[in-house]
């Protein structure tokens, strides 16, 4: 294992300390219990957004804390959900009196820990939205349900904008649920990743193999295939994504090509180009785009493609100003 670390057991703490000092104008960090909040939290009268999940997906979620997006993020150990005491402490700190929306990716550990936090919460109005956009998980009656993956990024941006314009908790929740209903994603990997405290790759792939339908925790996917050209990889991902909602001719969409952490931007833009051609052939219009490493699996090579069907309101909320460590526009 080659990583720029001092001690595998203090990776998250040291990274958070670095983040706090790099972005002191935007963020405050608590190390025990561990959470990140907006520097100016709480914002009186604004619905607060709290998300969280295992570390190793940076910039998700801490990089999205700031004006127009999240009020707090609770990082767990690498690929391990945060604990209820973190969620509770973060929610108490950022609650501006208008309630708290918890944004949870649909992984068993995340759901159980956030549920426990809601049970323990006293005196704070809370609502929860669970993101489950991963079409690689086919049959939800026989599994823990679809995983929350790339769709989390546009959801946090759009719900954050709704809260910033003054929507109440029920309205922010409703916007968030509209994103969940209209977003689909699928990912693939060229290499596994190595969790620092484990020291071993999460799975093994031959030089000429790729793993289709991976989640974001280094877990193996649904199918191992021979490596193929980018157009074919993108078509395999988009066949599942487009067919699932389904997206159809004339739809306006946000196309988000996300890197898993170890794939250079040149390949992500290449994949984005393949995706644009694929969608143009189907008459699906791309009106907004995002390309880059936003929800990662440590140093894994690979990408995921997220498609969100936009309406005028979702587009306006996507375009609204945002000022976080990882996303910034309009300010």
């Amino acid at each position: 294992m080659k990583k720029i670390i001092n001690d595998p057991t203090t990776v998250v703490d040291e990274a958070l300390a670095g983040m706090a000092s790099a972005h002191a104008d935007l963020l405050r960090v608590s190390l025990d219990p561990m959470y990140i909040t907006r520097a100016d939290a709480p914002i009186a009268g604004k619905v607060a957004l709290v998300s969280g999940g295992g570390s190793g997906h940076e910039p998700l979620h801490g990089g999205f804390v700031g004006a127009g997006m999240l009020d707090a993020a609770c990082p767990g150990a690498v690929f391990t959900s945060p604990t209820p005491d973190q969620v509770l402490a973060a929610a108490q700190e950022v609650d501006g009196g208008a309630g708290v929306l918890l944004i949870v990716k649909n992984y068993t550990g995340d759901v159980l820990n956030f549920e426990t936090a809601v049970e323990l919460a006293d005196g704070i109005e809370m609502a929860t939205v669970v993101v489950d956009d991963d079409v690689a998980v086919k049959d939800s009656t026989w599994t823990a349900g679809r995983r929350g993956v790339g769709g989390t990024v546009p959801l946090e941006k759009i719900a954050g904008a709704a809260a910033a314009r003054g929507d109440d908790l029920a309205s922010v929740l409703s916007i968030a649920q509209r994103v969940v209903a209209n977003v689909r994603s699928m990912g693939m990997a060229l290499t596994p990743c190595t969790v620092p405290h484990s020291g071993e790759p999460s799975f093994t792939l031959a030089d000429d193999e790729m793993e289709m339908g991976v989640g974001i925790h280094g877990e193996p996917g649904r199918e191992r295939m021979k490596l193929a050209p980018a157009d074919d990889i993108v078509a395999t991902l988009l066949d599942s994504v487009v067919g699932d909602l389904p997206f159809s001719s004339g739809d306006k969409t946000l196309l988000f090509v996300n890197g898993m952490g170890g794939t250079p931007l040149i390949e992500l833009y290449l994949a984005y180009n393949s995706a644009r051609k694929y969608l143009a052939d189907k008459g699906i219009e791309v009106t907004r785009s995002l390309v880059g490493n936003y929800i990662t699996s440590l140093e894994m090579q690979g990408c995921s493609i997220t498609l969100l069907k936009l309406d005028d309101e979702l587009t306006e909320l996507w375009d609204a100003p945002v000022h976080t460590a990882a996303l910034r526009w309009g300010v």
Partner: protein, 214 residues
């Protein structure tokens, strides 16, 4: 357990210390099992949680068995993370409530506590027998403990539970996982022993060994 039958708070605390030792000893193996079908952190996280429990017991051992179990619960909930934190934490929390106010645990109370723990795990995790989870170890363990509680000592009740749990854990090997991260593998989860069922077995076996050596 002066008379070989009932457990005091101090007995429960030493049994929990034994669990911490065994979980720490097997953490690499548990994480390895988890890596096959999950994300490879089960052993590390559980060991971290029980190590934190031991640190709290070093500060002070609570007065009753129930209070010891409750301390274990709150520590696991705040230190373990993953699905294991809330699941093991809720198990200990329900066990604590089931034997609240008892100064000592007799064999029947141990079986009652185990049964309540199972109820906590199924309420929180919504898993049933046959879905390749810790329930596959805990369910037969509770049945065996309940059956043994009529005539057995605490050590015998716990040993019956541990033996049944080991059988239950082995039964997960041919099963397709239907809960948790392993479920995402579909049929590829078949052929692997469930890490949670394995840690439940280690936990019960170390409780049994601790009770037998008193």
């Amino acid at each position: 357990m002066g008379d070989g039958q009932a457990c005091t708070a101090a007995d429960v605390a030493s049994a929990i210390r034994a669990v911490a030792e065994v979980v720490t000893e097997h953490k690499v193996e548990l994480s390895h099992l988890d890596r096959e079908i999950g994300d490879g952190d089960h052993g590390e996280n559980l060991a971290k949680g029980f190590t934190a429990v031991v640190a709290k017991l070093d500060d002070a051992v609570p007065d009753t068995p129930s209070a010891v179990l409750k301390l274990v619960a709150s520590t696991l909930i705040s230190k373990v993370g993953g699905a294991s934190g809330p699941l093991f934490g809720t198990a200990f929390l329900r066990a604590a409530s089931a034997v609240a106010d008892r100064p000592e645990l007799d064999p029947q109370a141990v079986a009652t506590a185990l049964s309540a723990a199972l109820g906590g795990v199924t309420d929180r995790g919504k898993a049933e027998v046959g879905e390749a989870t810790m329930v596959d170890a805990l369910y037969p363990a509770v049945a065996a403990a309940t059956a043994a509680a009529g005539s057995g000592t605490v050590a015998e009740v716990l040993q019956a539970a541990a033996t049944a749990a080991a059988g239950g854990a082995a039964s997960t090997i041919p099963l397709q996982a239907r809960k948790g991260r392993a479920s995402y593998l579909g049929e590829r989860s078949i052929g692997h022993v469930d890490p949670g069922a394995t840690s439940v077995t280690y936990l019960l076996q170390s409780l049994a060994d601790s009770a037998a050596s008193r």
